[in-house]
Symmetry: C2
């Protein structure tokens, strides 16, 4: 599996609209091959720079790329003035244990 | 529990140094009351804006604040020229299921 982390910069006052837009995208993406799970986090720290961060799991980078290509084609994710998204794929490189890196 | 997500902006070529600095901080923080677990993610998407993202769990915001205060006092986290960190606490607001928000 691969981890998709999408870091959102949300203009003031637009959090609920951004969450609603995220829900539309999730409802589309979860029907796509390779989708595993997703979790949307909202900042509780006041004036955090990134108000929303999504952490999702997909079976492969290709499956994620194909699903987002289809989403763009379907025009599902409504544009929100000033909303910046930073989706990228990640792998786990360190955990709780000292000295034994996962892989480098 | 609370989720700490720390989004790192890492200057080019400094990823290994940033990971080493992160390990020093982890080795200190995991001895502190309230620490639960942590996972460091490294971007596999080429030139991702955020090269490293840490997702950790603490029993409370207060425990996290106290641990990081002690870490600063102990001077554990070496400064790396140009490294920007964006630590904030988050809560989960949406998951896989449509229509039943966790809490708003």
């Amino acid at each position: 599996d691969v981890t998709l982390i999408n870091v959102f910069e949300v203009p003031a006052g637009q959090e609920q609209r951004a969450i609603a837009a995220w829900e539309e995208a999730r409802d589309f993406l979860k029907t796509q091959p390779g989708y595993v799970t997703t979790t949307l986090h909202q900042a509780v720290t006041p004036d955090a720079r990134f108000a929303l961060i999504n952490v999702a799991t997909w079976t492969s980078a290709e499956a994620f790329a194909e699903a987002t290509r289809r989403m763009r084609e379907a025009g599902v994710f409504p544009a929100i003035e000033g909303l910046k998204i930073n989706p990228a794929l990640y792998r786990v490189v360190r955990g709780d244990e000292s000295g034994t890196p996962e892989q480098d």
